[in-house]
């Protein structure tokens, strides 16, 4: 059902965990639907210096979370905002059609974390 790449990320998720002093935190999904994802980012010089995730959900939810951290790390905030759900799925060699909407939340999580960071920065001014 899943590609080898999805299974590889499910087996060995990259950047799993929390960042205690994160600059931005984004939580998307809902445990009622079976997927909940939190993305933590550390920002330095307008770039994503560190990123971690925690996810409740199926294999696709965990693999997309892991993949988004690889795609976003080192990117500028503008570049990271442009990463789409489609990019995540493509980088994993595709996802089953039924999973494209429910479990492919990682890009939304990343964008929510960046927006959280920008909001906090705005509030500091």
């Amino acid at each position: 059902m899943y590609t080898e790449k999805v299974m590889e990320h499910f087996r060995n998720p990259r950047n799993m965990g929390e960042i205690p002093d994160a600059d931005g935190i984004g939580t998307v999904g809902n445990p009622v639907c079976g997927d909940l994802m939190t993305i933590y980012i550390k920002v330095k010089d307008n770039k994503i210096a560190d990123i971690k995730f925690k996810t409740f959900g199926c294999g696709a939810a965990i693999a997309t979370s892991s993949m988004i951290t690889e795609l976003a790390k080192g990117k500028t905030l503008e570049e990271a905002m442009k990463i789409t759900r489609g990019n995540v799925a493509d980088s994993l060699g595709g996802l089953p059609t039924i999973k494209m909407h429910c479990s492919n939340l990682a890009a939304d999580g990343l964008h929510a974390a960046i927006e959280d960071y920008l909001k906090k920065k705005e509030a500091e001014k």
Binding site: Y2, M7, F10, R11, P13, M16, T27, P31, V32, C33, G34, D35, L36, M37, T38, K54, T55, F56, G57, C58, G59, A60, A61, I62, I98, K99, C102, S103
Partner: protein, 391 residues
């Protein structure tokens, strides 16, 4: 790698002895039972013999009360549509439960679009059908009460005899979906007030694509498949001869071997359940603790999701199922788990192991050795897990 199959509700191997008796009916005894020549006679005799064996397994009075179908789904469709359409003169009310198989629930939903009234009885936290609700809901207009003998997902065995009495008190026919129970626990249609009973061959180590419906003499049913009038007109279409022969053999084996198999599996099941609950914090048994199918182990783990549990076990060679939405075609969690009162997120974290003949003590030990590590790893990834469970 060790491979352990614990998903017998999803599919079972065919017993070697069953396959052996089926084989000649593909290449040598291929006559059509409707033909009057010797080839036809041989086929007809074989089918009648199977009919007798199925009748014996469930304590039917006459073999003519057995109609062969393509499986449990068709038997459930034939019952519900057939009884509803044929008994319109009495009423338009059907009673079933909220934990029935989808082939019952979706057939009832189909009928409610055509003017039939359907009542879905609630169940308690163990999955036992609410008898008081049945007494309250049943009326003179009720034509059919359809309740499963046991639920294949949560394992709970229902108080069938009592439900049958109540159904008959208002002149309603009583149908029992026994797909999950037959071949595992004894059933007697005459003692238990059953008018119609659905069976599936594969759920008793027989071939797929064949099942049966017991229809007590005098029960009014309209066929749903029209054609050449096979199976006393109730199920047209040329008989699945090798399949029916296989189902006959499977029921014969089940009748003689059921008791020792159930005793062995019940012990294995209880050790398995205790092993999980003792070794994994915040794990809970779904379904009835004692009135339970001998092969059924259904456990809920907090804070994690079932599909990722299945994938993790699959990587270690273990096959099982889950009630999680993520493993269903509809993306809805199991209706049975919701009906026993679980929240959606709780239903997502359920795992179903269904044991079979070939499962051993070693298989259970192997899974018990893997599960705590797997649950721990997934809980470490989940944002819902409380800190004290992660360390």
């Amino acid at each position: 790698m060790r491979r352990v199959y614990m998903d017998h509700t999803a599919g079972m191997p065919v017993d070697e002895r069953v396959l052996e008796v089926m084989m000649p009916y593909f290449t040598q005894n291929y006559g059509n039972p409707s033909s009057i020549h010797s080839f036809g006679n041989e086929a007809r005799r074989a089918i009648d013999e199977s009919r007798s064996k199925v009748a014996e397994l469930i304590g039917a009075e006459k073999k003519e009360e057995i109609v062969f179908t393509s499986g449990g789904t068709e038997s459930n469709n034939l019952t519900i549509k057939g009884v509803a359409y044929r008994n319109k003169d009495k009423g338009n009310h059907i009673i079933t439960s909220s934990i029935e198989h989808m082939s019952v629930i979706n057939t009832c939903k189909h009928l409610s679009k055509q003017g039939f009234e359907v009542t879905y009885l609630p169940v308690d936290k163990h999955g036992t059908v609410d008898i008081e609700a049945l007494k309250k809901e049943i009326t003179e207009k009720t034509v059919l009460v359809s309740i499963m003998y046991a639920n294949g997902e949560i394992g709970t065995i229902e108080p069938i005899k009592e439900i049958g009495e109540i159904a008959h008190s208002k002149g309603a026919f009583f149908h029992v979906d026994a797909v999950a129970a037959a071949g595992q626990i004894p059933i007697n249609v005459q003692d238990e007030n059953i008018d119609l009973l659905s069976l599936s061959s594969n759920d008793m180590y027989g071939p797929r694509g064949v099942g049966a419906l017991y229809i007590k003499a005098g029960t009014r049913v309209l066929p749903i498949i029209q054609g050449g009038g096979q199976e006393r007109g109730l199920r047209s279409g040329t008989e699945n001869l090798p399949g029916i022969v296989g189902m006959g053999k499977a029921t014969e084996i089940a009748k003689t071997e059921m008791k020792p198999a159930a005793e062995r599996l019940s012990k294995l099941r209880d050790r398995f359940i205790k092993g999980i609950l003792d070794s994994i914090p915040e794990s809970y048994l779904n379904g009835h603790p004692t009135k339970r199918l001998p092969n059924n182990v259904n456990i809920r783990f907090s804070y994690i999701e079932g599909e990722s549990l299945i994938l993790s076990l699959d990587m270690e060679g273990v096959a099982c199922s889950s009630g999680s939405a993520c493993t269903s075609k509809t993306l809805e969690p199991s209706h049975a788990l919701l009906a026993i009162g679980l929240a959606h997120e709780e239903a997502h974290g359920s795992l179903l192991f269904t044991l079979g003949k070939q499962n051993t003590e070693e298989d259970v030990k192997y899974v018990l050795g893997l599960l705590p590590k797997i649950v721990k790893r997934l809980r470490a990834i989940s944002p819902l897990t409380p800190k004290e469970l992660v360390t």
